[in-house]
């Protein structure tokens, strides 16, 4: 009896819902859709930076009202997460899943990502086979695009089809590390202690810095990799203080505890006037100053590929003001990268209006030359690297990063 009761209950519910909603379905006009996906670690410790990137992407898309080609193309945006909650960081399998999902969705024509260079190693081959263009706002590992700068066989191993599909808006480590090494020489540094956070980005850039510094005749007082999860570095800083360096270079990002390093460095008696602290663009953000505390961060140097947002002119200045108005915060370096990634993607789509497909968009992204973006006038070279090799040096003064000079 009860069985029949439940069956009839279920059946009536179906009928009711069907009857109620039967009128809702219907066709709609066919508009070409281009989906832009981003694959970034949205859970865990990198969330802060990826938030700014995603915000900038959305901001750029909203400006064009999610449309391109005079409204004939509808732009959709999917914000994919390549991290898992259990791991709290990017996950290989998740990145592969995202890339495969993008490859199999015929609407996906632009893949903004990845954040971590390791994730790019997994995504590039998959998307290369699918012919989807990748625009990375954050990968700096040189081996992804450059011959002879990474491991043996790189970068050919990432491009099974033989053609390139990967571009990046950020200059690779080899440029920035070298620029930092030269800047240190100009600043009159003679004895430098080099730290890194053991990550692909941080260690890579610290290696390049070490090589340049050595070539410039700067003595390397020591080299250590820090455990970025440690609660403090008092012992390490005491060790460093004993070697009497006049600069500490840290290859790493804010999330690798750069703020704590500076705090403990100051606490160990290495004040800003005695020992300099320099880092790459991974610490070039307000969050670093927040984390270190304005007093401790005072005097810290940071290098950055391109001109800082506040110093931008023309388009960049407009964007700078718009961003500030919208988010009530200083735009970060990552926001600029994310914004310009979307910028070139949209420009390429607008150039491909006649035949919207992956191939054309890929071709047009690579054809980006003298593009007037927020980072300045730039483009991609044949290997997909940004032509923006100009580096700038910043220093924290009065609790904010200030542009100091252009680096060579």
């Amino acid at each position: 009896m009860k069985r029949f009761l439940s069956f009839s209950l279920v059946l009536t519910m179906i009928m009711v819902i069907l009857a109620a909603c039967g009128t809702q379905t219907g066709g709609s006009g066919t508009k070409t859709t281009v989906t832009i996906v981003s694959s970034l670690p949205r859970t865990g410790s990198s969330k802060g930076q990826t938030d700014t990137i995603v915000n900038a992407i959305k901001m750029r898309l909203e400006e064009d009202k999610y449309a391109a080609c005079n409204g004939n193309v509808e732009i959709k945006y999917e914000d994919l997460d390549d991290a898992t909650a259990a791991k709290g960081a990017w996950d290989e399998t998740k990145e592969a899943e995202n890339a495969n999902a993008a490859a199999s969705n015929k609407d996906v024509m632009v893949y903004i990502g990845t954040f971590n260079s390791g994730a790019a190693k997994i995504a590039i081959p998959i998307l290369n086979n699918a012919g989807i263009v990748m625009i990375s706002p954050a990968n700096t590992y040189p081996g992804l695009t450059k011959d002879g700068k990474g491991a043996e066989g790189e970068p050919a191993v990432y491009y099974p089809k033989g053609t390139r599909n990967y571009t990046r808006v950020v200059p690779a480590d080899d440029l920035q590390g070298a620029a930092a090494g030269n800047w240190a020489k100009e600043l009159g540094v003679t004895n430098v202690y080099i730290l890194d956070d053991t990550e692909l980005y941080g260690k890579g850039i610290a290696d390049v810095f070490a090589a340049t510094a050595e070539a410039n005749g700067i003595k390397i007082a020591g080299r250590d990799s820090i455990d970025s999860k440690a609660s403090d570095y008092k012992a390490l800083m005491s060790k460093i203080a004993a070697t009497n360096p006049d600069m500490i270079y840290f290859g790493g990002i804010t999330q690798s505890n750069a703020g704590q390093l500076v705090k403990d460095m100051r606490a160990a008696g290495m004040t800003a006037d005695k020992v300099k602290f320099m880092g790459p663009d991974g610490i070039y953000e307000q969050a670093f100053i927040d984390a270190a505390g304005a007093d401790n961060a005072e005097g810290v140097y940071a290098t950055f590929g391109g001109v800082p947002p506040a110093k931008l002119e023309g388009k960049g200045a407009e964007w700078y003001n718009a961003y500030k108005a919208k988010f009530n915060a200083e735009p970060e370096a990552y926001a600029a990268y994310g914004y310009d990634s979307t910028n070139v993607a949209l420009a390429a789509i607008n150039k491909s209006c006649d035949s919207i497909n992956r191939e054309t968009i890929l071709k047009n992204v690579f054809a980006t030359k003298d593009f007037d973006g927020v980072l300045g006038k730039w483009g991609f070279d044949a290997s997909g690297d940004t032509t923006l090799t100009q580096m700038s040096g910043q220093q924290i003064k009065n609790g904010a990063f200030e542009f100091v000079q252009v680096l060579k």
Partner: protein, 388 residues
């Protein structure tokens, strides 16, 4: 109840005859160890010892740094040891409770508008004592709540079930840390209430919820010793050590000499027997969690002020180290935890100096294995049993 426990349960412990030192398995492991030490490690020891000999000043400095760090590791370790002693549960959420403690202290400091530049020393002193009390109260209640809802229903479950529940709570608390660190949420609340104080909290948190937060440097920074270029030891270090040791001593005497402490010890030894003696076991366990939570919160505040940083991942690392400290000293044993904490702080500092920071965690665990080989129940743990 007793039947559902695993064989390592302490009830069986007194029956275990003392094993001869050189059992077959210990022989196995020692032989392996000697091979390892002989071939790989001697050159490393040699190098380290020579370096230590070369610069005794640096060695002393590192020992001081390590011991100071050790005192607060010990305070966190106490939370693990208390809970383990009474429930045999590795309370994975404890490290994250410690993190919440750091966040709460930052929130209260901003609410009170404490600033090392503008506030007077006396205001800071009394406010900090008040804040310490508040933070301890919050985390204590939170910990007792967690026990009530996530662990108590699992009292009779297999021993490992509450472990998973604790891991789950650890994730929940981490997310709570992200929420507390989200300046945008605080901004909205501040706008809604029109409150300046909450606005200050929003400023302290910044716009990135997961980024590390800076806790103002409210502790005195002067040197204790007046000889220039000698040992660096600030009043801050001294204060941290004194407060931590005070908490340790307080807890030890509480458990040792008060009636409630006796109830805790009795429940830890044998819950059913304690119940027969008229002890309300559930209440005693709640009290234990209250104390553990208060200690975790206090440690969070101490470490937050000492290192000047609060970040939502800080609980994991600190938890791992502290739990290791608790095991090293003999889990369930309060003095053991203190000893383990000091030892781990010391090893960390020395390893940072002489071996390399990235090896420090490996060194800690290697030494842990070494010590447990010779004392399988930790430094002060009872042979055969696992409780204080």
């Amino acid at each position: 109840m007793a039947a559902s426990q695993t064989p390592s349960s302490p009830q069986a412990a007194p029956l275990v005859p003392r094993e001869p030192f050189l059992t077959k398995r210990r022989a196995f492991s020692i032989v392996g160890l000697i091979i390892f030490l002989g071939f790989f490690a001697i050159p490393i020891y040699q190098t380290i010892l020579l370096e230590m000999w070369d610069d005794p000043g640096q060695l002393t400095q590192q020992i001081v740094i390590g011991l100071t760090k050790g005192t607060y590791i010990a305070v966190i370790a106490l939370g693990y040891t208390l809970v383990y002693g009474i429930l045999e549960l590795i309370n994975f959420a404890h490290g994250d409770l410690f993190m919440i403690g750091a966040f709460l202290s930052l929130i209260f400091i901003s609410l009170f508008g404490l600033d090392p530049k503008t506030s007077s020393g006396i205001t800071i002193f009394f406010s900090l004592i008040g804040i310490l009390g508040l933070v301890m109260l919050c985390t204590a209640l939170m910990n007792a709540g967690i026990e009530r809802f996530a662990y108590r229903p699992l009292r009779k479950a297999p021993r490992l079930a509450p472990l998973i529940s604790a891991i789950g709570m650890s994730f929940v608390l981490q997310n709570l840390g992200i929420f507390l660190g989200d300046g945008l949420i605080w901004d909205k609340i501040a706008d809604g209430l029109g409150s300046d104080a909450i606005g200050r909290v929003a400023d302290a948190m910044g716009s990135q919820s997961v980024a590390p937060k800076n806790i103002p440097d409210l502790l005195p920074n002067g040197q204790v010793f007046f000889i220039p270029n000698s040992l660096k030891y600030t009043y801050k270090d001294l204060l941290v050590a004194v407060v931590s040791l005070g908490l340790l001593a307080g807890l030890y005497s509480f458990v040792r000499f008060t009636k409630l402490g006796k109830a805790i010890r009795a429940t830890a030894q044998d819950r059913d027997a304690a119940r027969l003696m008229g002890i309300n076991a559930d209440r005693t366990i709640s009290v234990t969690f209250l104390i553990g939570g208060a200690l975790g919160g206090a440690a969070g505040m101490i470490v937050g002020l000492y290192n000047g940083t609060a970040v939502f991942t800080m609980g994991f690392t600190a938890g791992l180290l502290s739990f290791t400290a608790a095991v090293l000293g003999g889990i369930g044993n309060i003095l053991g935890s203190a000893l383990g904490g000091l030892l781990i702080g010391l090893i960390l500092a020395l390893s940072d100096q002489y071996i390399g920071t990235r090896w420090s965690n490996a060194v800690i665990f290697a030494i842990l294995v070494l010590i447990l080989l010779f004392r399988p129940t930790g430094l002060l743990g009872q042979e055969g049993g696992q409780k204080a």
